[in-house]
């Protein structure tokens, strides 16, 4: 297997790297059980296990202040890599260095320089207001009370949080909770942020607010950010550079623009029609992705998008039409299925 494609000139190696992974690998031992009663009994008597290589030979480096997107389908190895970068799990092979430290040693100096935000996995105390958890974090990270009050006020303003910090966490909406989680995770002003699906489950407005906060934080404090997200909008808004991982291997390391051209030459057009039509009716406009009654999803090459949308509106009885990028998971899945990247 070849190493990742490196595209573009902006990401030069590496003397100043704040995150460096070299030949990183993680293998899990998992139970191998067949279904049914016979399988259960056999498994009970003779337990079999197999090895799963979640991450294999991943190498990359990130320079201070970079905002990097980490893309891949579910189970591709993104979260496992993040866990190794933060020291939560130990790599089976390879080396990691973050902020000049070996993460798995979990030294206080290292822990004070990083944060990991995992969508909906909370460090806030559920039954108390976020301010109580923030007090704990301030003490743990040795932030003087006056300074912690100043930082809380500053971050709360950036996140548009006010009274919510005095309400029990369980009474907050998902978006408010996520913002409070971010505040708690950033109170010690970490130099390196590992963000695993920070906008997962949020509505569009909340996603946009979290996104703009992250961009602002990156600008203001020069923090390095490695972000995984299933929402293409997060990646396009925030990450000039992306890493693409598939089945545990790094396939691409370069600019988002180049990746988008390569991975998503088409855009998705959703139509709601007056009356249902067969697939043959759309053959001249683009590739039919799905037809469900009066709703149709088409893939149309980017360069022909305007022309074809114009034709669709002119030719067919269209009630509603929207254009979007296909979900990143679909794009990557389709691409690997076709073998276009490998």
């Amino acid at each position: 297997m070849q190493g990742p494609h490196r595209v573009g000139f902006a990401f030069k190696p590496v003397r100043m790297a704040i995150v460096r992974a070299q030949g990183l690998g993680k293998t899990y031992r998992v139970a191998d059980k067949r279904p049914g009663l016979a399988g259960t009994l056999r498994h009970f008597v003779n337990r079999r296990e197999r090895l799963i290589a979640a991450v294999q030979d991943v190498s990359f480096s990130i320079e201070p202040g970079e905002f990097v997107g980490f893309l891949g389908a579910n189970g591709a190895g993104k979260t496992t890599t993040l866990k190794m970068l933060t020291g939560l799990i130990h790599p089976t092979s390879g080396t990691v260095e973050v902020a000049g430290c070996q993460p798995q040693r979990r030294e206080a100096d290292f822990l004070g320089q990083i944060t990991l935000v995992m969508g909906q996995k909370q460090q806030l105390i559920w039954d108390l207001p976020p301010l109580d958890s923030l007090r704990v974090n301030a003490a743990v990270y040795g932030i003087p009370p006056e300074e912690s009050r100043r930082r809380i006020a500053e971050l709360a303003e950036m996140l548009e949080l006010g009274d919510e910090l005095r309400r029990p966490v369980r009474k907050l909406s998902l978006g408010q909770r996520m913002k409070a989680e971010l505040l708690a995770a950033l109170l010690h002003r970490p130099a390196v942020l590992f963000l695993d699906e920070p906008t997962l489950g949020l509505d569009v407005n909340a996603q946009a607010r979290v996104r703009s906060f992250l961009a602002d934080y990156n600008r203001r404090f020069g923090a390095t950010v490695l972000l995984t997200s299933h929402y293409m909008a997060d990646i396009t808004a925030l990450c000039p550079r992306v890493l693409l991982i598939h089945e545990g291997r790094l396939f691409y390391d370069g600019s988002l623009e180049t990746l988008t051209q390569r991975l998503a030459p088409c855009r998705e057009v959703r139509l709601e029609l007056h009356a249902p039509l067969g697939a043959e009716a759309f053959a001249s406009y683009g590739e039919v992705e799905a037809i469900e009654g009066r709703e149709v999803r088409l893939l149309i090459p980017r360069e022909r998008l305007t022309e074809q949308v114009g034709r669709l509106l002119a030719d067919l009885a269209v009630v509603d039409l929207s254009v979007s990028d296909p979900p990143i998971e679909d794009i990557i899945g389709r691409l690997f299925h076709q073998g276009a990247v490998a």
């Binding site: 939560l88 996995k121 909370q122 105390i125 039954d127 108390l128 003490a139 743990v140 990270y141």
Partner: protein, 270 residues
């Protein structure tokens, strides 16, 4: 050097104070549940009824007042030595809450110790009420321990809590390898129940069983502090030395399992 040490101590004091106050606030949210837990710990009173009946019919050689005071003291000691770290740790591990805790520069065990101490502080008024009620119903059993035996009893109860916590926290390390490690604690509850003095004062046990019991850590978790509190004569130095010896045995095992466990940790649910 000395200044650095002072700073570190001040930092540790601040963390401890904040963890205790936030955990106390958290426990107060669950005060009704804690009252029910306190009420569910009345096993010593049930055993008191049972043994009083046996004493009345045959004579146990302990006397009903002595029995009553022992079981009341056992109830109090039990209330302040209940440990549930394995269940919380197991849940934190399975739900992924452990991971953010592990990424903070404070030993994880601090959180759990603070949670236990805060829960004990929340229990305190209800335990005092139950003790008051006991004396109201059985005024003849009232006694006021001397200052020295009260102080010793408090120290012995704290040491008993520390030993029980250390023992369970050591077993808790199995959570790094097994998702249902709490089954081990349930298994261990049986010898704890019978050898700690919760179901009967160890003085009533056959000599062979009693001698065996004192080679285990269990009598030091209830029987010894309860007898000190009840004003009985106890080999204090020997008991504290035994507790220290058990702690010295368990601590390195705990640290070893902790280090190995972290290497094995897979950050489930995250």
């Amino acid at each position: 050097m000395r200044r650095h040490l002072r700073q570190r101590l001040a930092h540790a004091r601040r963390i401890a104070a904040v963890l205790l106050s936030s955990q106390y606030a958290y426990m107060l949210e669950y005060r009704a549940e804690i009252v029910l837990w306190a009420l569910s710990g009345v096993l010593p009173f049930i055993m008191l009824g049972l043994w009083s009946a046996v004493d009345a019919s045959g004579g146990l050689g302990m006397g009903s007042l002595q029995l009553a005071r022992y079981f009341l003291a056992a109830f109090v000691v039990r209330q302040f030595t209940i440990v549930w770290v394995m269940y919380t740790f197991e849940e934190d591990n399975l739900t992924g809450r452990l991971s953010p805790y592990l990424l903070q520069p404070v030993p994880l065990v601090w959180r759990y110790v603070a949670a236990h101490l805060s829960e004990q502080a929340t229990r305190l008024p209800f335990v005092a009420m139950l003790v008051g009620l006991f004396f109201l119903l059985y005024p003849a059993a009232f006694w006021w321990p001397s200052f020295s035996s009260l102080l010793l009893a408090v120290l012995a109860t704290l040491a008993a809590f520390a030993l029980r916590f250390l023992m369970q926290f050591t077993l808790t390390m199995v959570c790094f390898w097994s998702e249902k490690a709490s089954a081990l604690e349930r298994l261990l509850y049986l010898p704890y129940l019978y050898l700690s003095g919760l179901v009967a004062p160890l003085a009533l046990y056959p000599e062979g069983v009693r001698n065996f019991a004192f080679w285990t850590p269990f009598p030091y978790m209830v029987d010894v502090p309860a007898r000190i509190l009840a004003g009985e004569t106890v080999p204090v130095l020997q008991s504290f030395a035994a507790m220290a010896a058990w702690a010295a045995l368990l601590l390195p095992i705990n640290l070893l399992l902790w280090r190995r466990g972290l290497r094995h940790y897979s950050a489930m649910g995250a």
